[in-house]
Amino acid sequence: MSLLKVDNVTFGYSSGKSVLAGVSLDIGPGDTIGLVGESGSGKSTLLRLLLGLTRPNSGSISFNGTALDPRNAQFMRAYRRQVQIVFQDPYSSLDPRQTVLSIVAEPLRSLKIARDHRQMVMEALVSVGLEPTILGRYPHEFSGGQRQRIAIARAIVAGPSLLLADEAVSALDLSTRIRIVELLKQLSASMTLVFVSHDIGVVAALCEKIVILEQGRIVESGDTKTILANPQHPYTQRLLASVPRMPA
C-alpha cells in the first residue's frame, strides 16, 4: 500500500488559471523521491497540499489510506507526527531567540509527546552529525550547514515516517551541500523522503525516483537513472540539456 497517495489533484488560486492540473503521485514506504521543477511548475503548491496547509480543488490526497483533511484536527495532529518538513533557508527557519534544545524540541512540545525531551533532542542531534553538547547555544553561533543540520534534527526528533524537504540544500555552499545531501541519503534509509528541488543534479545524487513537473503537470516520472539516461518528454530533455556540466 502506498504511504502517501495523490490522486488526480487540481488546484488553482481564486483568480483563474490552475497551478496544478491532474497531478497523481504514489509514494510508497521507504521511497526516496525527488520532485523537480522550475519556477511556476507548482512544486511549492504541491508541497503545501502534501502538508495539509491547503486543500485541493478536486482530487484527493490520502496518507496510509485515510484522506487528508485540514479541518479534522485529530487526524492532522497524528499526521504532523508522521510528516515533518525541512525548509530552504536555515537562517529564517530557526528562531534566533531560542536555544538549540528549545528549537529541536518544538515538535515534541506541540505534539505533546511526553517523554524525556532532552534525551530525544540529544539523540536527534547525534544522528545529524552534531555534538549533543550544543543544546544551550543559539542559531547565530552556527554556520549555514550546521543550521540546516539543526533544522533536520528538529524534523526527525519526533520520529516521522515521512520527511519533506523544500529546496533544503539550495541555500548552501557547494561543499556544504554535498555533506547535507549525504546526511539526507543516510536518513532516507530509515524513512520516506520527498525532496522538492529545482536542481536536478542534487535530485540525481539523492533520489531513486524522480517526478518532473512543468507548469502544474507531471510530464515524466519514474526511476531516476532510467529517466536521466533516456528522457522521453521534450521538457525533461531540455531541462537536462540546460544543466551546465563539468569539463571532461
Partner: protein
C-alpha cells in the same frame, strides 16, 4: 599588451575585520576570467573594489588599475569617467538592479544617452528610441516595443536579466563584470543567458570577469579561473587545468563536490 584590470596585493578591511588579503588579479583586453569561491570568500567585494564601489567603511590597500587609471583613492568624478566605459557590471538579482518605477525603455535609454554624450554625440528622441530597440534586439528580447513600455515587474526574470545586460552593453565597456548573473534564474533560462553572454562578449571583443560559486557554469564561459577562499587567492590558472588537476586542498574539495553531482546526472546529453 597592458592589462585592462590589474589588481595587485589588494587587501580590504573594516575597522576590525580583514575581508580580503593580498589578492592579485589581472585581466587582459578580451580575456575571460572566472572568480570562484563560496559565500564570504570576498568575490563580490573584489568586483566592487575594481569599480570603486566599496562602502566607505572599508579601507583598501594595494593597487587597482582599471584601463590604465588608479581606482583606489580616485575621486568620484574620475571614477564616473571609468565606470561604464572601462567596466560595467551585471548583478545577480535583476529585480533589485532595475528601477521598479521606470519603464524598461527609459532604463536602457539612459546609459545609451550618456555613452553617446561621452562620445560627443547628441541623440534625438527618435534616434534614441531606435537605439533602445536595437539594443533590445541585441540581447534577444522578444517583442521589444511591448517590453520597452513595460515595468520590471511585468516581465520574467530571464527578460529582466537581458535588460540588465543591455544596460551594461549600452555603456560599450571594455570589461564586463558579471556577478552571479544567472544564480537567481531557472536552469533552462540560465542556459539561454549564458549563451547570450558568451556570444556578446565574443562579438564585441570585451573582457569578462565572471563571478560565480558554480563551477560547471564558470567552466563553460571563461578561459582562466581564480579561486578565492576567505579573502585569499588559493589557486589560479587555466580553467581546464585547475578543474582537471586542482592543486590546493580547498579547490580539490570544490571540484570533487561538483563532480559528485555531475556524475549522478550520468553522461551529458
Amino acid at each position: 599588451m597592458s592589462a585592462l584590470l590589474d589588481i595587485k596585493q589588494l587587501s580590504l578591511h573594516t575597522e576590525n575585520v580583514r575581508l580580503l588579503y593580498g589578492v592579485d588579479l589581472t585581466i587582459a583586453p578580451g580575456e575571460r576570467v572566472g572568480l570562484i569561491g563560496e559565500s564570504g570568500s570576498g568575490k563580490s567585494l573584489t568586483a566592487m573594489a575594481a569599480t570603486g564601489l566599496l562602502p566607505t567603511n572599508i579601507r583598501a590597500s594595494g593597487s587597482i588599475t582599471l584601463a590604465g587609471r588608479p581606482v583606489i583613492d580616485a575621486s568620484e568624478h574620475q571614477l564616473n569617467l571609468l565606470r561604464g566605459s572601462a567596466a560595467a557590471v551585471v548583478f545577480q538579482e535583476p529585480l533589485t538592479a532595475l528601477d521598479p518605477l521606470m519603464r524598461i525603455g527609459r532604463q536602457i535609454a539612459e546609459p545609451l544617452r550618456r555613452r553617446a554624450a561621452r562620445d560627443g554625440q547628441r541623440l534625438s528622441g527618435t534616434e534614441l528610441d531606435a537605439a533602445v530597440l536595437a539594443m533590445m534586439g541585441d540581447v534577444a528580447l522578444p517583442d521589444p516595443e511591448r517590453i520597452a513600455r513595460a515595468y520590471p515587474h511585468e516581465i520574467s526574470g530571464g527578460q529582466r536579466q537581458r535588460v540588465a545586460i543591455a544596460m551594461a552593453l549600452a555603456c560599450k565597456p571594455s570589461l564586463l563584470i558579471a556577478d552571479e548573473p544567472t544564480t537567481a534564474l531557472d536552469v533552462t533560462t540560465q542556459a539561454e543567458i549564458l549563451c547570450l553572454l558568451d556570444r556578446l562578449v565574443r562579438e564585441r571583443n570585451m573582457a569578462l570577469l565572471f563571478i560565480s560559486h558554480d563551477l560547471p557554469v564558470v567552466a563553460g564561459i571563461v578561459d582562466r579561473v581564480v579561486v578565492l577562499r576567505q579573502g585569499e587567492v588559493v589557486e589560479a590558472g587555466p580553467v581546464h587545468q585547475v578543474f582537471a588537476h586542482p592543486q590546493h586542498a580547498y579547490t580539490q574539495s570544490l571540484v570533487a563536490a561538483a563532480h559528485a553531482f555531475d556524475t549522478a546526472l550520468g553522461a551529458a546529453p
